[in-house]
Each structure stands twice: as structure tokens, then as C-alpha cells.
């Protein structure tokens, strides 16, 4: 990462971890090389599965003209039955809309097992949150999100919008769903 700090995501870049740098470089290259929206979505799924360790992923599109958001795409979970507002809460949703990442790191219970970890990442374009990436469950072997994951969230937040939405970033989603208030 080039920036010195990342307040919205609460971590400083781990410049001393060359493996993390390689991971970020591969994610950046994959997004930048996306041929079209479908390929960009494939890339996003691959990045989350391979680098973050989750196969339950959703993407919600924000429609600022109606102050609602709709399910844009999902993988491994039926987001039509998923209540994003309840999962995030009003405060959490407002934070994400402001451009902050909302992460529940997961915590060990008395038996040593990890409680559910999940993350909500604002997908930003020209300073506005235009979508929310929801990462809803980690694979069993991935115990929790860590600091290097926060750097990847930051990269996705800053660089995924263009390949995912391109010039249509400000238009309404094609399928108007029963959006919830933003």
C-alpha cells in the first residue's frame, strides 16, 4: 500500500510482509485485468475465496436516487432472504456508507472455537460508497480476519468499483428489488 495510514480501516500497511505485498499485487492485477463485469465478479469471488477464506459473499448496490440498496450478486448464500440492515445495524450501515469497513473479527468462546467473523466493505468510487461487499462466513481453517486482511479490504474498497461497475456506476440497478432504506 502506498498510503501511510488507513484510518477508515484501522490499520497501517504491513510494509514488512512481502507475502502480503504479493497477495495485494495479485488482487490488484486480477481486478485491473477484468475483461468485463462478469469477469470482474469472478475476480472478486476468487480474491475473497483464495485470499480471505470465505465462500459466502454478497454484493449490495446502493441506489442513491431512492436511498435504497439491492442485492446485486451473491455467492454461497441466498441474499434475498438475508437482512443486511439487521446484520449491520443502523450505526454499522452508516459507518460503511461513510467509507469505513465494518468488521466483526470473531472471538474465541470458552471452548476455543471462533465465533462468526464477517466483514462489510464499502465499494467506493470518487469518494462515494456505491456498493457494499458482504463477506459472511469464513472457511473452517480460517480462524479470523487479521491485519493483512484489512489491507485487502482497503484495496477492494478503492479499486473494485471501476471493474465491477465501470461507467454504469451511477445508474440504477437493472432489477429494482424491495430495497431497504439506507
Amino acid at each position: 500500500m502506498k498510503s501511510d495510514k488507513n484510518d477508515a480501516f484501522g490499520v497501517k500497511p504491513s510494509a514488512t510482509d512481502p507475502m502480503n505485498d504479493l497477495r495485494l499485487a495479485a488482487a490488484r492485477e486480477r481486478l485491473a485485468e477484468s475483461r468485463d463485469q462478469e469477469d470482474a465478479i469472478d475476480g472478486l469471488r476468487e480474491i475473497v475465496a483464495n485470499f480471505l477464506g470465505s465462500e459466502e459473499i454478497g454484493l449490495f448496490r446502493v441506489d442513491r436516487s431512492t436511498s435504497t440498496f439491492q442485492v446485486f450478486w451473491s455467492f454461497g448464500i441466498d441474499l434475498e432472504k438475508y437482512d443486511l440492515l439487521r446484520a449491520l445495524g443502523d450505526v454499522g450501515l452508516q459507518r460503511v456508507m461513510r467509507g469505513e469497513c465494518h468488521v466483526e473479527l470473531g472471538a474465541r468462546d470458552s471452548l476455543g472455537a471462533m465465533a462468526k467473523a464477517q466483514a462489510f466493505v464499502p465499494i467506493r468510487l470518487t469518494g462515494q460508497t456505491i456498493a457494499i461487499l458482504a463477506i459472511l462466513r469464513l472457511l473452517p481453517q480460517k480462524l479470523a480476519f487479521d491485519k493483512s486482511d484489512m489491507e485487502l479490504f482497503k484495496l477492494l474498497s478503492d479499486e473494485a468499483a471501476q471493474p465491477l461497475f465501470g461507467l454504469s456506476a451511477y445508474s440504477k440497478p437493472a432489477a429494482e428489488g424491495s430495497g431497504m432504506s439506507v
Binding site: 512481502p18 495479485a26 476468487e46 483464495n50
Partner: protein
Amino acid sequence: MSKKILVVDDSKTALMMEREILEKRTTYQCVTASDGQEAVEKAQQERPDLILMDVVMPRMNGFEACKMMRQQSSTREIPIVLVTTRGEESYMEAGFQSGCNDYITKPVNGAELVALLQSYLGE
């Protein structure tokens, strides 16, 4: 002469990452394939020193490719490391039954991957 690794994955992202790790953190040469069928063909052509292969892939999955390579004299002895998101014991057991030598789960830890490869190939 540097050792050669055949990296097999249908995910461009995983291929990019594994290739980056091999090229920047090791002296190994890297060739790639994007599904099991291509892997079987590339293994015969390239005669790699080790195969690092995803399991869930189109056309031919990693288990099937592993079995096929174990049946062919030219690829029978090549170490195969399977890579997958599935870490359950039963799934790993199926991997070993297909003939793999080792098994690692995603997300791949780069340092652990390099150490594992070095344990087979040396530095």
C-alpha cells in the same frame, strides 16, 4: 538447472498469486494449467519436479487428474500437492486416496507454501 513446478488452478487469481510467490520467493521455474485435463497433458510434456494443483476445477477435477497421473509411468513419481478450500478430514482422505503426496488449504499461507515446496525440492 532450476526445478520446475506445474501450478494448476482454474482461478486466475490463485494462479497469479502462486506464480508470484514462486517467481519472487524461490528459484523454481513455473508452468501453469487451468484444469485437470490440461494438467495431465502439461505434466507429460513438461515433466515438472512437482505439481501444485487445485481440486475443484472444470473438465477434470484435481482428484481425477491426480489418479490419471498416477496411472501413467511418465508422471507416476511426480510429487503432487493438492490445494483446496475444503479442509475436512474426509475430503483430505479422498485426496490421499487419489494419490496426492500432500494437501494444503486455502487461503494459502505463502511462507508455509514455500517451506512445503522446499521440503520436496530443496532450496
